[in-house]
Symmetry: C2
């Protein structure tokens, strides 16, 4: 077995972790159990506040503290109506690592920095990345079009986005979108990233709170299994199913934002990811699903990622 060594140590130093692998904060999949397992395995776990009310978020933060002594963080979608309450909770609970997504990095970063937090923000394009740096964030997550869940309208892919963001900012860049194995980690680092954020691969682990149907859907997915819809009202990548086919038909017929909101309805993500309704839910997952063939524990997965990364990079060193 090769030993994994990472050329850039900035992310590890900033976050106090061994390995620059961040588990993405995901709705309905990443509670305390998953986040703590990733942190215990040497990466950084994130509690995904996107599907949590403030009280549940507080409970999950406290639970994570019981499950790990290592650093972990919270992902907060900044466009939430009750975002002030979520921010209040993470500050009161003294969470020291915040990943923001959606919305402006400018609004909360000063408060987080004042509280001594390390702050990262997820972006889908170069212009946004510069704004994140200007807002005073410590890290930027550049997320490509292949990523599961909510995404940018410009559809810039990981392969194109990462090097352009790396050129545009001085802070370390975490690559996200399509990374599901150690080869992907090596590729992301070749493109100039200092570390990676991995979503779907962690959503299909034992410790993820996603429904078993969801995990099995990831395991059986091929390269064409996901679709990208709802550009007009909130673009997202998810598995093709009966509901997304209705969305597609409506979009092809020129449906208005109002009509699309009607077809979207409410609680689709919960239905798909947490309740496991694979036909009527919004079953968010990335294009990397086609590379995922099992549901390991986080500890098994982390070790495998490091082994794959080490053997991939070793082939360049003869």
């Amino acid at each position: 077995m090769q030993t994994a060594s990472f050329p850039d140590q900035r992310v590890q130093q900033l976050l106090g972790i061994d390995t620059p692998i961040i588990q993405a904060g995901m709705v309905w999949a990443s509670g305390a159990k998953l986040a703590a397992a990733v942190s215990n395995a040497g990466g950084l776990g994130l509690i995904g506040a996107g599907s949590m009310k403030p009280d549940l978020l507080r409970e999950q933060i406290r639970k994570a503290r019981r499950l790990t002594l290592k650093p972990f963080g919270v992902n907060i979608p900044l466009l939430r109506g009750d975002v002030e309450d979520l921010v209040q909770v993470v500050l009161e609970e003294e969470v020291k690592i915040i990943f923001g997504s959606a919305g402006s990095a400018k609004r909360f970063t000063p408060r987080f920095k004042e509280a001594g937090c390390v702050v990262a923000h997820v972006v889908p394009g170069v212009t946004f990345a510069k704004k994140v740096e200007d807002a005073g964030c410590d890290l930027v997550v550049a997320e490509g079009f292949e990523a599961g869940g909510h995404n940018g309208v410009d559809m810039v892919t990981t392969f194109s986005l990462i090097p352009q963001v790396v050129d545009a900012v001085s802070i370390p860049v975490l690559a996200a979108g399509g990374i599901a194995d150690g080869q992907g980690i090596a590729a992301a680092l070749a493109l100039g990233a200092s570390g990676v954020q991995i979503g779907t691969r962690f959503a299909a682990t034992v410790e993820s709170s996603a429904h078993d149907n969801y995990k099995q859907a990831v395991v059986s997915a091929d390269d064409r299994a996901t679709v990208f819809h709802l550009r007009q009202i909130g673009p997202a990548r998810m598995f093709r199913n009966a509901w997304t086919e209705r969305v597609r038909a409506a979009e092809e017929q020129g449906a208005s934002p109002e009509e699309l909101k009607e077809i979207l309805g409410s609680k689709r993500e919960r239905l798909g990811i947490f309740e496991g309704d694979l036909e009527e839910g919004q079953v968010e997952a990335g294009q990397g699903s086609g590379l995922i063939r099992d549901v390991p524990t986080v500890a098994e997965l982390m070790q495998r990622l490091l082994e794959e990364y080490a053997s991939t990079t070793a082939k360049f060193c003869t």
Copy 2:
């Protein structure tokens, strides 16, 4: 300066070249001059037959033979109405390397193999890649959603596509889409590719026959400069301009294929790439354009790609 070394030698051996860098056959940009320059610099140049009548293709093949003693190839879009004539020309002229794209690899591969050719075929997905292998091709080019020009409807990105195709076939895989520098080459190889096919970066060189306006548009492009349209009648990636905005508006209003064909009209690619009309032409280019900042000669570019590749891979070897 580091020396570039490539872990997998199969592509070099199959094609008789030094460096597994293939210049994509592109409409209106890649004639004999570009192809010969790439081959002379140690890669593989391809004459793009897509924008040539059979007689012009014959002339360009003969011209390339005068400009280089090294192997070069021809790219043939197999859906062309006069494809039989193009095939006849390459066989009569004894071209020994054929890259097919669009259409079925099955139809012509037996004839090419009988004539002693090395045959590759470009695909946008895993299922197609398996068909290419079954058809008897020697190589498969897996081209991601970020690539310029015509593309698949499933929008699978380079980062997701390459490792899934590598897992699915035994023949060597060339990665295409978004590769514009040596970091991209290293990333593609980390993902399991045996070599790369590069388009837009070569279209913006001195030897490319694209219009100077085209080359300058590539140089000034950012990460969001390209758009992907015409999924219903022939999906393609190109620079956003006055004409693509009309296409977008029509698509959002649910335009029929017939209406889109009307808006497309004829000779749009020639207008954009060869005549340099950046507002009314179909100015095909990849998302990697944002990484391209000059118009070097092919020799300069090839040396730079190798240096970047060597320094990128070297950072994994400490």
